[in-house]
Subunit: 348 residues, 4 copies
Amino acid sequence: MFFASDNAGPAHPKVMDALVAANQGYAMGYGADPIMDEVRAQIRDVFEAPEAAVYLIINGTAANSVLLATMTKPWETIFCTECAHIHEDECNAPEFFTSAKLTLVPTADGKMTADALRQKILGEENRGVHGPQRGPLSITQVTEKGTIYTLDEIRALTATAQEFGMQSHLDGARFANAMVALDCSAADMTWKAGIDTVSFGGTKNGALGVEACVIFNPETAWEFELRRKRGGHLLSKHRYLSAQMQAYLADGLWLDMAQAANARCAQLAKGLRKHTAVEMLFAPQANMIFFQMPRAEHKRMLDAGAVYYVMNGDPETGDPDAPLVGRLVCDWSMTEAGVSQFLDLLHG
Amino acid sequence: MFFASDNAGPAHPKVMDALVAANQGYAMGYGADPIMDEVRAQIRDVFEAPEAAVYLIINGTAANSVLLATMTKPWETIFCTECAHIHEDECNAPEFFTSAKLTLVPTADGKMTADALRQKILGEENRGVHGPQRGPLSITQVTEKGTIYTLDEIRALTATAQEFGMQSHLDGARFANAMVALDCSAADMTWKAGIDTVSFGGTKNGALGVEACVIFNPETAWEFELRRKRGGHLLSKHRYLSAQMQAYLADGLWLDMAQAANARCAQLAKGLRKHTAVEMLFAPQANMIFFQMPRAEHKRMLDAGAVYYVMNGDPETGDPDAPLVGRLVCDWSMTEAGVSQFLDLLHG
Amino acid sequence: MFFASDNAGPAHPKVMDALVAANQGYAMGYGADPIMDEVRAQIRDVFEAPEAAVYLIINGTAANSVLLATMTKPWETIFCTECAHIHEDECNAPEFFTSAKLTLVPTADGKMTADALRQKILGEENRGVHGPQRGPLSITQVTEKGTIYTLDEIRALTATAQEFGMQSHLDGARFANAMVALDCSAADMTWKAGIDTVSFGGTKNGALGVEACVIFNPETAWEFELRRKRGGHLLSKHRYLSAQMQAYLADGLWLDMAQAANARCAQLAKGLRKHTAVEMLFAPQANMIFFQMPRAEHKRMLDAGAVYYVMNGDPETGDPDAPLVGRLVCDWSMTEAGVSQFLDLLHG
Amino acid sequence: MFFASDNAGPAHPKVMDALVAANQGYAMGYGADPIMDEVRAQIRDVFEAPEAAVYLIINGTAANSVLLATMTKPWETIFCTECAHIHEDECNAPEFFTSAKLTLVPTADGKMTADALRQKILGEENRGVHGPQRGPLSITQVTEKGTIYTLDEIRALTATAQEFGMQSHLDGARFANAMVALDCSAADMTWKAGIDTVSFGGTKNGALGVEACVIFNPETAWEFELRRKRGGHLLSKHRYLSAQMQAYLADGLWLDMAQAANARCAQLAKGLRKHTAVEMLFAPQANMIFFQMPRAEHKRMLDAGAVYYVMNGDPETGDPDAPLVGRLVCDWSMTEAGVSQFLDLLHG
């Protein structure tokens, strides 16, 4: 009954096996290992982008920060939602790497609308040298609220960005979960929809710690490499990143894991809907649910061993009837039985 | 015959086993995993420093940069040697994280003398608000030239630093190799000798990729944590760092590995001394040798399958009698037979 | 009829005379000129703060940025309004100098309420090392909308900040205009109301280009000096800053000039109120008015030689009846006759 | 007898008159004042560079830092001498604005040789992504030691830089003094000699505080403007910078002043040569002399009212016979009689 985060579960055994298998003999460091050549080919294949620049990095904060730094000048502002991970959960890392600022677009459900984006872009207008200049758009797919942009919605956002000469970045910490939910290709969800760069997540979906940075226009590839190194993010024993990503992508393991996580989440959602005191805040579309129920119910669940975050208050104190918001996240390793156990307890 | 770098060999099987063992069930992320509690205790024990703040990070560049950033103000200058890794091999990462500058102290053999340090410190004097202010000292042990500071030498350097109100950092990418060579304790080589913070290397000595940052005065611990996060260096699935370090330290594995690497290096050195055309540039004291021999000899060795870096020219072209400098590095995984094969080939 | 900005008018002749008078013989540079000693005493006197650290700098962007940098850590966020000059009009200078970010508090009339501040502070809570940490509060007095905080309102804001361990900065680009309007002392409006540092404006109120940075707790004085120098903001021939500020403060010239500017603004407001098609957006309290009137009326005024900014559209094109917002700013040098000329034209 | 610095004397009365004259009526701010149009034309004329981008800024540190920031990537290193003002006297401002580092080229007399430059450039080679990349060359003319590069020497340096794809910056804090000494044109000393950007000094040569930044290839002009603003270096009442520069350049005033300063320096040098205990360290070529004489002699001069810096010790204490180095700087305002008074005292 551990639903605290999709970074709390184990790596998939196949990923671990690949790591063990890679641990033989000598290999050139810093990305010159032969496994990386395979990974580059795999990712270009997945994205149908034979020219794309592909790099590995240890986590999403680093992926987002280094990519955004190659896309942003220090005097610009990056457009993202109010609840974007790059704004809320990275302790100013994007500001550190870019030296720029973020403009927060309001959102009802984690998703930015093209209209809201346009309004903010225009709001940053007219000040010439005095105000921040327009930098890139950054959207998160799956969003931080567990919702998913349709392909049309992504296209509308990137078209709006392009209209103002802005590039678009996709924070895909849960890329696979979105792809599975949309039943689309990686290309559909990215460059075919106007996305310029992708943080392609592995960590939350069954790896130990690896993300790919994918740059469709490879002109800034060398700058990316220098910025990655300068950020302390170029690994000497790089093969241990490569091996994770290789196994992650092999034989569709990544999609199978995302499928499993999403299925567990759907099972959870179905069960939550049957509970009269529970209200889901957003329609869960991938592997994450935000739900509201009385403080006393949260306390009962947590006391009974369920593990998840209550976002806006302390279940231990205060009005037992007052509703609090909980967050449930599923990863590939969760079992149907585990989810049932949680639901039985809830309905219990 | 792979002597290119100690980051090219495999991780020790015990380290890998620990990683596999850690890959069970759920664990809180971001350093809150239970293995990290053990690691913290292990390192405090190794350093005889029960109050020390201890953090893990992926590589030496990150360890050095984040530690130095907690020790340095943006208007200060960090004193290091001309050949310091933080100056030559980190693509301005220390400057990025500290916003400060480096003052380069000349060195004959990779080691800074207290006199040379004093001269540079005084050279930065007298300019009040106009010039850079004095920041910390950073020394590397084992040095980038394969030499080792004696405990007296470290004490003389840190005493000089303290005289000017400066703190001292030790870049211990090859910490274990130095400790084994000096036959001293970790405490002897660090806080007992005036060192304030340590980048305690694991990666080059049998881990996949992990370094410990040790801060003897834990006042800046929270700042370190924030800077690590802001640099994108806080891992979500942190247990995979913890597990590496736990196994690395358990039962003296780290010292055994360093011992093995140093022994292979001594074997190499002994063999090199017997070759009349070979000259070693510095007395090899740990696991790294810089040696000079004619270009033609380098070419012969490399053509025959020896792998190592030639530092100052191309063995393929030019005067075959002209001497070039090669670098040989040994890691824990090298065998006596492998070294013998290299030497046999050399003596051909 | 020039109402575009209070930085467009001339410096007061007495300020210019002081500059000419200072231009005799030799003077030590970089703030060691004897006039600066007088200025320091004057400002400490004005603020009833005998221990305050006092520095001069060329403009408000620099004053705000260097002060905020001494108050903010790179992983923190500065709380200001959505329309704060530091957010909208400094091209990321505060981000450049602090390496931090800004949290925007919504505002109806340019003034932040303590409740809105508290809500934003709490919104940045609960994320530990992952989110930005709480940095200082920065408020602008006179606000960017021409409104003025009462002393009670300032106290409520700084008390809220203090409750969360935050310091408070006051951007006083129009400090004198506010003081005159509130009929209070400089101490009342700052440290007695919980303000820790002040950007004390001179430029917009009759100087050529000089602001004082006032730090009530002088502990960070040396850091300020180093940051000012590092930002390229320490003038060698500093006497020309000192002389401006000396004359500005002498015999209450600064208050007289603010009084004059405010009086012209009141005259303008009175006239605008009589025009049926004009609506003032905020009650003008100092020297700046935002007013709405039909596009055609703006066009008529501008065509007739009135100079001011229309903020949200082009008077030359579009629906002549659609209202647009204009901004009128008065400085010390405006005459009653000049304002009357504008009003006569308006009432046509 | 004030020889401490050329930033200690008064501004030329004609410069001050221009300032007073500019203080009439309203003028658009931020560089849009009509005087700036004249200044732009004047400087393009002086440099015979009709396309050059021209900006004004308050001092040399800012001029150097903002120009270098437009020429340098954060992962690069700037090549300058060990005694460069940007290294020694700007409290890390260049590092702040560029985020890069400096590589120090050794120098005997303040001048860099093309050979020494080449050696350092090659020394930064061969490390690929690991080391700093090559950024621009920055030389100072007149150098910090009072010496002057010949046109051939400048050409040799910029040719070396170009060979490695590097741009060249000239720190011309004493530009006029060098031009007068070389009897060449501004174009000869800059773009005709391979210089890409110039910090064109006014402050030390009779202005209150103004430097021009001249960029011969105007492609980075907009970036310069944004960086200047972001550094807090765009003045609202910009006309007061423009007026200074306008008067400075009008009718060759700037060259007359430099001529006067150089002449006083030559007079000083002639007198010093006659003193047996005095040794000049470098052949004085412009308006600055470094000379060595016994501590007791320094003490005698300073006690008698001469004002200058003793660079390497305290004249008040220690061996009276030990030589110390003094620095004498002349500005436009020094009189022949004043210099004679100093020399009479010396020969006393």
